[in-house]
């Protein structure tokens, strides 16, 4: 290497050193900070690119209406690429910015941050992922699933199947097709518990990561086991593969119910379109579709600014989940500010705010959840939607299944 090259590099290093971290200017207005983690570039980006803009839209909507009790919300979004070190760094930055609540993103990231949340007394949410045991507020005081955990989803799936099969599962066969990772394993304990009381035959079929190869499992299901119903708990690209393969093996998709991460518009489209997936049932923890007042308000907000509503709104499953997350955080902060008589809330206050959440329905988009110091899940409500004629059609109202079984398993997990 020549000396001129060394010189060039030295200049480059000096220039790079000049770029330093520019902190956020302290605003004159009263504001609360929400830390938001997202994955727009990692393995779950299909969720993140639709869910995170929704959170921002909801926060903008609240701010455009004057904020929460006079406080503007500052949303600090950082991409964690579904990586743990990145999530830790992002969390520390949220903390340094003074965040009073954290929207965590991803199961391993939730695990990694659980202890920090307790130590720093900042509440964090893990809607639809994380550990089911986190529903127990006395064991995880600062972690809030705020949506049906995998246990509640598993119980709800069984209840749904029971109704579909005429109210009695005795002697029926249910196949559980799942992604072979900890999250995929999680509902098995509930299914096995219910198998005893409901007397159905359960067989599990694991799909190894990355979950795009399941021809053997599907053939096994369709031609050997021949179940009365299939419960699919898959992530990423694998739900689409499952739909395609089941279709090819001649198994009717009207006898398949997918859990919450196997249930969005992109999954249907990647499976070959709505016609292919006709009949497929999906479990949802937030309302699906366009027919909610809050979505109309967001469209109106964009129109008022002279802009088109964002294209992400078309993915109603993930977009509406983003709205749910935003709404629950805003409500918790509102409760906290009210409880303090308008004073600046701390993380501890917002935790109590979360625990006071009761019926934030958002016109039916959010389930009638009721959080308390003991129950951080809010009941474990879900709805089932079916693919019918090119869209998701609501099949059931909000319901929760087997609360006694879930309570027993939660107790056992303590």
């Amino acid at each position: 290497m020549t000396h001129t090259m060394v010189k060039t590099i030295l200049y480059a290093v000096a220039a790079a050193g000049g770029i330093s971290f520019v902190g956020a200017a302290t605003a004159q207005q009263k504001e609360v900070v929400i830390g938001e983690q997202c994955d727009r570039t990692g393995p779950t980006q299909i969720v993140g690119v639709n869910l995170c803009p929704a959170i921002r839209d909801y926060v903008n909507l609240v701010n455009s209406k004057g904020g929460i009790e006079g406080y503007k919300i500052k949303l600090d979004e950082l991409d964690n690429e579904y990586k743990v070190p990145a999530a830790v760094e992002a969390y520390e930055r949220h903390k340094a910015e003074g965040a009073v609540s954290i929207m965590i993103y991803g199961t391993p990231q939730t695990q990694a941050l659980t202890q920090k949340l307790n130590e720093d007394k900042i509440p964090g949410t893990s809607p639809g992922f994380g550990t089911a045991a986190a529903a127990n507020g006395s064991r995880y005081p600062y972690l809030f699933p705020i949506a049906a955990t995998y246990w509640s989803q598993g119980a709800a799936a069984v209840q749904f199947v029971k109704e579909k099969l005429g109210g009695n599962l005795a002697g029926k066969k249910i196949a559980y097709l799942y992604y072979d990772n900890p999250a995929g394993h999680e509902p098995i304990v509930i299914l096995e518990d219910l198998q005893k009381s409901e007397k159905f035959e359960l067989k599990t079929f694991a799909v190894p990561p990355p979950g795009v190869e399941m021809g053997a499992q599907v053939l096994d299901i369709a031609q050997r086991f021949r179940p009365d119903f299939v419960i699919a708990h898959l992530f990423g690209r694998s739900p689409s593969v499952a739909m395609k393969e089941l279709k090819r093996a001649g198994y009717p998709l009207s006898k398949v119910v997918g859990m919450v991460w196997a249930s969005a518009e992109p999954d249907i489209e990647a499976a070959g379109g709505w016609a292919v997936a006709e009949g497929y049932h999906t479990i949802q923890f937030a309302g699906v579709g366009d027919d909610y007042p809050v979505r109309k308000e967001i469209v109106a907000m964009y129109k008022a600014e002279g802009k088109e509503p964002p294209k992400e709104m078309a993915n109603t499953v993930y977009y509406n989940r983003g709205l749910l997350i935003g709404a629950v955080h805003v409500e918790a902060i509102r409760n906290a500010i009210k409880a303090k008589g308008g004073a600046q809330p701390t993380g501890e206050d917002v935790k109590k705010g979360f625990e006071a959440i009761n019926d934030v329905t958002l016109g039916g988009l959010v389930p009638p959840m009721h959080l308390s110091a003991a129950d951080h899940e809010g009941g474990g409500w879900v709805q089932v939607f079916q693919v019918k004629g090119g869209k998701f059609v609501k099949e059931t109202d909000w319901f929760r299944a087997y609360p006694d079984v879930l309570a027993r398993e939660l107790k056992a997990a303590e």
Binding site: M1, H3, M5, V6, I9, L10, A16, I19, S20, F21, V22, C38, R40, T41, V49, C52, P53, R56, N60, E77, L78, D79, E81, K83, V84, P85, A86, V88, E89, E92, R93, K95, A96, T107, P108, Q111, A112, L113, T114, Q115, K116, E119, T131, A132, A133, D180, N181, P182, A183, H185, E186, V189, A413
Partner: protein
């Protein structure tokens, strides 16, 4: 180190092998110690310390992998899984037997060393890409076992929560406390690696890397030393896993999947194969670069884009810049950051009278 003598004056092997080649090196070491032990934890904010902590943990892992890949010339794509072996060993010891950190750390390392040596057995017959695939199999097998054996992984969600490490009765909670804890072990790892490479074992590793048949002819037991390389390297990986477990308060194998193995390989390749300083620079570079590019983009991006657009642009542009900068650095100096640093030093050795 920062300083260089003005020429080559060494007259004995002893002088050539010295850790501190010049008296001033001891002074520099003392100054660095004061800087890292006394100044940094006070001067840095919690947030910046948390980044530094991630770097410290990565340095230990990169050093370990460099012993295997850089010094011994073997390859492993299974180091991520070996970290999880250390993590789960320590987590089980901590939760079941209430083991203190001074027991859990070496135990985690030792278990990883044993498993790593087993994974290394194929290296006795195969090399290069073939060995890479064999170690990849090791990664997948370890992941599968942890995922499916609740006795190891603690059952639901395959994760075990551990309490914070306690030193003299004080639980380490704040980033500054954890920083000092991690710094101690990282410094230990650096010193151990430097000295390992000055020893008979280290020279045997290098001989095997340069030409294994020649090494065998001059009397090095290849069988033994290749397994030693795997074991020592895996020990570092195991300790990295334990440090992660203590830092995060949880052992979870999803943090140690195949992508992590690749990240660590990237660290040592960017930093410089077969050098201690290269491991440190590489670990720092790979950990810090995504964060630093985001700072830069946040500072500059607000001028051109709206906040909502920026939220989408930054993560994507950051990935592009990350990849681009790695290519740039490797194109400028294929031997990595360590060589780049040495070139800068030798430029200044005769500066300003370079002609």
């Amino acid at each position: 180190m920062l300083h260089r003598e003005s020429g080559v004056f060494k007259t004995s092997y002893g002088a050539d092998m010295a850790v501190f080649p010049l008296p001033i090196a001891k002074g520099a070491m003392a100054a660095l110690t004061v800087l890292f032990v006394a100044v940094v934890p006070i001067a840095f904010s919690e947030y910046h310390l948390s980044i530094l902590n991630l770097i410290l943990i990565a340095v230990v892992g990169a050093l370990g992998l460099n012993i295997l890949v850089g010094y011994t010339g073997q390859i492993s794509i299974g180091h991520g899984a070996l970290m999880s072996v250390g993590a789960y060993t320590a987590a089980n010891l901590i939760t079941r037997l209430h083991a203190p950190f001074w027991l859990a750390l070496p135990a985690g390392g030792a278990m990883a060393a044993v498993i790593g040596a087993i994974i290394g057995i194929p290296s006795l017959r195969i090399k290069g890409l073939y060995l890479a695939i064999a170690t990849l199999a090791g990664q997948l097998i370890i992941e599968w076992v942890i995922n499916h054996v609740p006795w190891i992984s603690g059952g639901v969600q395959a994760s075990i929560e551990v309490p914070r490490p306690t030193v003299f009765g004080v639980p380490l909670r704040s980033q500054a406390q954890l920083y000092l804890f991690l710094l101690f072990f990282t410094a230990l790892a650096i010193a151990a690696t430097i000295n390992l490479m000055r020893s008979r074992i280290g020279r045997a590793f290098i001989a095997i890397r340069d030409q294994d048949i020649a090494a065998e002819i001059i009397g090095i037991d290849i069988f033994r030393y290749k397994l030693w390389a795997f074991a020592i390297s895996s020990f570092y990986a195991g300790v990295t896993g334990v440090l992660y477990t203590y830092y995060l308060g949880i052992a979870n194998y999803e943090q140690f999947q195949i992508g992590v193995s690749i990240d660590y390989l990237a660290m040592i390749i960017i930093g410089g194969l077969g050098s201690v300083l290269g491991s440190i620079l590489g670990a720092t570079f790979v950990t810090l670069l995504p964060i630093a590019t985001r700072w830069g983009l946040e500072a500059a991006g607000g001028v051109f884009f709206s906040v909502a657009d920026l939220a989408n642009i930054i993560p994507n542009l950051r990935l592009i810049m990350f990849g681009g900068l790695i290519i740039v650095f490797l194109a400028v100096e294929p031997e990595g950051l360590n060589r780049l640093w040495r070139n800068i030093l030798s430029y200044f050795r005769v500066w300003p009278f370079s002609y």
